[in-house]
C-alpha cells in the first residue's frame, strides 16, 4: 500500500487521466494473472465494477479471479452470475484465490482499512512485483490511495463503474490496443448492463449525485450506455427507469448464457490431450439466431477455458460467424494452467495464420469461410497439428 497516506482528490487534468488509462492498458497487455478485489461488505457498485473488470480481462483471455473475502447481500448475486459463463473465477468466504498474481485491481474502496481481512492481502500489497491498479470515486474525507502511483484512476464520478466505463471507452478508441489484443467490441451487453447497474445503484438513479460535474457525466454516460444497449438488444431495453428493470435484463442474460453454454456443450469431443467443440455452419447459424453474437463470444471463451482445464492440455472451440455480419470462422484456443510447454502464439506461426493473436496461454484466430472447402476436414487438420505440437514439446 502507499507509504504516504495522501487524501484522494480528483485527477486534475484530462491529459493525466488519459495517461493513467494508458499505464493501465500497458499492464493489461503485459501480464497474465489478475486478482480483483473490492471493499468489505461490497455494494452493487463494488460488485458490478469487479464483474466489469472481470469481463474485460476475460475478453483479453487473461486469468482472472474475483475475491469476495467478506459476506455480501445475496440480492446482489445476480451480478456474480455473469461470471459463471465468462471464465471468471469467483472466490467467496473461505475459498482462497491462487496466489500467482501479477496485477491486483482494487475497486471502489475508499481506504486500505476497508479491504478484506485475508492474511495474504498484506503479502500481496507489500510485494513490489505485484502491480496495484486502483479505480475509485470516493474522494476527500478520510479516503487514502491504495494503488501504485500512475495506476490510480481515482476521480470524481457517480460511481466506480462510471470510471470503468470511461476507461473502456478510451481502450476501445485505441485501435492498436484493440488489434494487438484481438478485441472487437468491449461493450458487450453484459458489460453495459453491469456498468449501468453500478452507476444507477450507487447514485440511486442519479438522486444522490453530489456535484454538477457528477450530474453532467452521469447523464452523459447513462445516455451513451443506454443507446449502446438499444443497438445491441433485439428487444428494446434502453432507458431503464428502475433498478428492477436492470435486474430483469441481467437475469435474463444469465439464463441466455446458460442455455448457450448447454447448446455448445453438446458438440464437445475429446482426444487424448485436447478437448474441443466445432459448430458446423448450421449449428453456428442456430446459435446466432437463438443467442446472439455477444452471448456466443463470451460463452465460447468460457467453454474453451473449461475444455482446456478438463483436458489438462488444450481446449479448442470453433464456430462460423453470422454470415450477414462477418465472413469468418472463429477459433479459440486455450492452454491448461498445468501445461506450460507450448506457447500458443507458435501455433499461429506453424499454421501460417496471420489473422489472429493473443498471448502464450490463449489465442484467437479467424479464417474466411470461403477459403475453407471442407470445414470439418480443415478442423481435423488443425487438431492433428496441435497434437503433434504437444507431442514435440513433451519430447
Amino acid at each position: 500500500m502507499s507509504e504516504t497516506a495522501a487524501i484522494k482528490h480528483d485527477i486534475r487534468t484530462i491529459a493525466e487521466k488519459k495517461r493513467i488509462v494508458t499505464n493501465i492498458a500497458r499492464l493489461l497487455e503485459t501480464n497474465d494473472s489478475f486478482l480483483v478485489i473490492g471493499h468489505e461488505n461490497p455494494d452493487e457498485d463494488c460488485i458490478a465494477s469487479m464483474v466489469s473488470i472481470g469481463l474485460l480481462l476475460s475478453m483479453m483471455n487473461k486469468r482472472v479471479q474475483i475475491d469476495l473475502s467478506t459476506s455480501f447481500q445475496e440480492q446482489f448475486r445476480y451480478l456474480l452470475n455473469i461470471c459463471r459463463y465468462n471464465a471468471i473465477k469467483v472466490h467467496e468466504g473461505q475459498d482462497m484465490p491462487d496466489l500467482g498474481v501479477h496485477v491486483i485491481f482494487i475497486l471502489d474502496t475508499p481506504k486500505p482499512e476497508m479491504i478484506g481481512t485475508r492474511a495474504f492481502y498484506k503479502k500481496i500489497f507489500t510485494n513490489p512485483k505485484v502491480s496495484k491498479i486502483e479505480i475509485d470515486h470516493h474522494l476527500g474525507g478520510d479516503s487514502t490511495y491504495i494503488g501504485d502511483e500512475g495506476l490510480q484512476l481515482v476521480a470524481s464520478a457517480s460511481s466506480t463503474c462510471e470510471l470503468i466505463g470511461y476507461m473502456l471507452y478510451k481502450l476501445s478508441a485505441d485501435s492498436g490496443f484493440m488489434k494487438r489484443n484481438n478485441l472487437q467490441d468491449l461493450f458487450q451487453r453484459n458489460m453495459i448492463l453491469s456498468i449501468l447497474t453500478g452507476m444507477i445503484a450507487d447514485s440511486h438513479m442519479g438522486q444522490y449525485l453530489k456535484s454538477r460535474k457528477e450530474r453532467f457525466f452521469y447523464d452523459h454516460f447513462c445516455l451513451m450506455f443506454e443507446r449502446m444497449l438499444v443497438r445491441k438488444t433485439r428487444e428494446g431495453s434502453g432507458n431503464f427507469s428502475s433498478k428492477e428493470e436492470l435486474f430483469k435484463a441481467l437475469a435474463s442474460l444469465s439464463g441466455l448464457e446458460e442455455a448457450c453454454f448447454d447448446f455448445l456443450s453438446r458438440s464437445i469431443q475429446s482426444l487424448d490431450k485436447i478437448k474441443h467443440a466445432l459448430l458446423d455452419d448450421s449449428q453456428s447459424a442456430k446459435v446466432f439466431e437463438n443467442f446472439g453474437a455477444d452471448t456466443l463470444v463470451s460463452v465460447s471463451k468460457a467453454l474453451t477455458d473449461q475444455l482446456a482445464e478438463e483436458s489438462g492440455y488444450l481446449g479448442l472451440v470453433a464456430y462460423r460467424d453470422d454470415p450477414a455480419l462477418s465472413p469468418f470462422v472463429q477459433f479459440r484456443l486455450r492452454r491448461s494452467k498445468a501445461f506450460t510447454g507450448l506457447d500458443l502464439r507458435d501455433v499461429l506461426k506453424t499454421l501460417s495464420i496471420e489473422n489472429g493473436g493473443g498471448h502464450p496461454g490463449a489465442v484467437g484466430f479467424r479464417i474466411e469461410r470461403d477459403k475453407i472447402a471442407d470445414l470439418g476436414a480443415y478442423y481435423q487438420e488443425i487438431l492433428r497439428n496441435l497434437e503433434k505440437m504437444i507431442g514435440d514439446c513433451e519430447g
Binding site: T13, I14, A15, A173, K213, F217, H220
Partner: protein
C-alpha cells in the same frame, strides 16, 4: 481575455495542448480530442463561460472557430 484565449487556457490546463496550436480553423479532433474528451471540455467551457451547450449541438462543433462562435452567440443572447 477573449474567448479564444480562454479556450487556449482551458486546453492548456486540461489537455497539455500547446496554445500555439489552438487556432480558429483547427479541427478539435486534430487537437487530440475524442468525443469523450469533448464532453469533458464542454463541462469546463460551460463552467468557465457560464453558458449551456446542449448535447444536440456538440457534434456540430468541429473546429475551434465554430466552438468560439457558438459560445459568443450564447453569451450575447
Amino acid at each position: 481575455m477573449d474567448s479564444l484565449e480562454k479556450i487556449k487556457k482551458i486546453l492548456k490546463e486540461k489537455l497539455d495542448t500547446d496554445p500555439a496550436d489552438v487556432q480558429p480553423a483547427k479541427a478539435l479532433t486534430d487537437l487530440g480530442l475524442d468525443s469523450l474528451d469533448m464532453y469533458e471540455m464542454i463541462y469546463e467551457i460551460e463552467t468557465e463561460f457560464g453558458v449551456k451547450i446542449p448535447d444536440s449541438e456538440i457534434a456540430s462543433l468541429t473546429t475551434v472557430g465554430e466552438l468560439i462562435a457558438f459560445i459568443d452567440a450564447k453569451k450575447s443572447s
